[in-house]
Symmetry: C2
């Protein structure tokens, strides 16, 4: 089986491309949005429901799964696919982002990061070797290099040091990786907001001929203009015969801009987070289903949406569920929101295949 | 369409019977457990998931739906079936039980009950006429008479008065009912713990030739012996050509005892409530999935159970989800628990059809 990426169509005016990426657990048609299943569950949805959204690949989090239930349990269960009942491709992140953003009392040195478990207070050390060891045990199709993520607004010298360390850590990750045939290890281009550092990082990573490349450090909450700038600079430097993944991004415009630069894969917690807050993504807009305007709105969220929620329920019913704090409200909204973002990337894919990307999605590329 | 009950087999040694009950929204094979969907949602489950449990008929609550979203919204949506996306038979209770058990500041007189809405504090009056009017608007297949439920431990004279009033209120319900062809109005036999009052109530209700009969006032939390005694006295007095429903009961032994007395239908909040508390019903036992003993238990909840949860997930995964307070844990446990109780009644049904009820389920009838 192994991994291979086929490009089926490329846009003549932009870097957009439509392809099929083969992984040991099946194909991923790109460009494509991937839902996040932090603790080996996409919040509120069964694998059967996730499948109906058109999602082909999902994410899980090494940091969270290391803390609970621990990778030993997942490994004994036969790996993540078996443990969580998802037979399609899975990607685990390295835990780096969570260690830097969620943990208290962390110490960073050349060996790795030491932090306090938020669950039971015990001291945990995560190193490149340890992250890969955990990800080998979890058994996802794609695993990510352990990187140092400098905070937003970090000074140039700080980012230089973090980017260089990220490269040295990547080499250690590659050495530690036990099963490159079964699990593809992606490198992550860091470099903060500094174009020259991004370029240098991309260049040195490309030389390692990795099975895939990610752009990190441009996640939810960043200035959209910053995301656009970094992606436009970095993505074209990555080898065309490998999949390209923009980490943590899943807003409409940012995905279109990134696809135009040649990005293939996206992930974001927005669809499930919005769902749990009673909000729906509908054609680029955010609807708050709690609002009284939906009380007697007996139309679906989006009459053109083929998802289970839109095919069976009205905005009035969703308003009732959300107002009543019923679990089913969060479930149905999460189901729709994931379907919506997957479908959006799928529609872009079809436009690229028909050579109509700029005609149909060019509007999103305008600065506004 | 309308309503009709066919008895397909009767036990030679007990009152147990297996039948098919035709309703405007489809058949219910009896005996059968019905899950509760208080606010027009069986907590955490989509209608598609409910269907996979084998549940054929579900309940909703007039009291809760009157408070939120209000019956006017449900009626405008085209009725409960349309509103909640459940195309099978639905039963609504009268709101009586909730008014008496949940509301503060209630005043009871011959006209009805006045109480304070727990949502916004406004004063609401529920009368037999109002309950039926609301249930007519909700549009369930089966609606229940508005009854007075005396508290547990009520004195004889108090229960006499409540039972007599319940009869007068039933007559008013029948007069108020607008669509007896589409909605079957069931009477409820009350009478507390007093056999003579139960018998008298059953006798007077039977004379009204109602489309179905319920036994009320023997709900979750009552002494099992009391439930057995009342059901054994009351059920055989109800006409055999009509369905018999024991309200609020859904424990294994109590269902077998009731079926042996001729009861056809059950409802109970236990499967979803246990599910939300991380507990599973497995062959008569309650398993707390939070317990460390399940951490590395890679077997399903019940290897003989055909439900989605047991076919796809291990106890170790459920332990992980429940410990992580993930919604999916509650969902998968609720799904299993409902399947388990429906399947239990379905297995009893098949035993009755094969004339093997006492042989296969007689053990539950022993006093212990």
């Amino acid at each position: 089986m192994g991994f291979s990426f086929e490009c089926h169509a490329s846009c003549r005016q932009t870097g957009a491309r439509a392809g099929v990426w083969h992984t040991p657990h099946g194909c991923v048609e790109t460009p494509r949005f991937m839902p996040v299943g932090t603790l080996a569950t996409v919040k509120g949805l069964t694998p059967a429901q996730i499948q109906t959204t058109g999602a082909q690949m999902i994410l899980a989090n090494t940091y969270h799964l290391h803390l609970q239930p621990g990778e030993a349990i997942v490994e004994k269960a036969g790996g993540l696919h078996e443990f969580m009942g998802w037979q399609g491709p899975i990607l685990t992140d390295s835990g780096g982002f969570q260690v830097f953003s969620l943990s208290e009392l962390r110490q960073i040195d050349e060996s790795g990061v030491t932090f306090c478990s938020p669950r039971d207070g015990r001291i945990i050390q995560l190193t490149p070797e340890r992250s890969i060891q955990i990800q080998n045990a979890l058994g996802a199709d794609v695993i990510m290099a352990f990187d140092e993520c400098p905070p937003a607004g970090a000074a140039y010298e700080e980012v230089v040091a973090a980017t260089e360390r990220t490269y040295r850590w990547l080499e250690r990750c590659l050495n530690a990786h036990q099963c490159p045939q079964e699990q593809a290890l992606f490198g992550i281009v860091q470099g903060g907001i500094y174009p020259d550092l991004r370029c240098a990082a991309a260049e040195s990573l490309v030389k390692l001929d990795l099975p895939g490349y990610a752009i990190g450090g441009v996640s939810v909450g960043e200035e959209p203009e910053l995301i656009h700038k970094i992606v436009r600079i970095t993505a074209p430097l990555l080898p065309p015969e490998k999949p390209r993944y923009l980490m943590g991004v899943g807003t409409y415009k940012e995905m279109v801009v990134a696809i135009a630069s040649g990005i293939d894969l996206f992930d974001c917690v927005i669809p499930t987070r919005f769902g749990r807050h009673g909000a729906a993504l509908v054609r680029g807009e955010r609807l708050n289903l709690k609002n009284a305007q939906f009380r007697e709105d007996f139309t679906p969220l989006d009459p053109t949406c083929p998802c289970y929620t839109c095919q069976n329920f009205s905005r009035a019913y969703l308003n009732h569920l959300v107002k009543s704090r019923e679990m089913l409200g969060y479930i149905l909204l999460s189901l729709h929101n994931i379907s919506e973002l997957v479908r959006f990337t799928q529609q872009i894919r079809e436009a690229i295949l028909r050579d109509r990307f700029v005609e149909e999605f060019g509007g999103w590329l305008d600065d506004r």
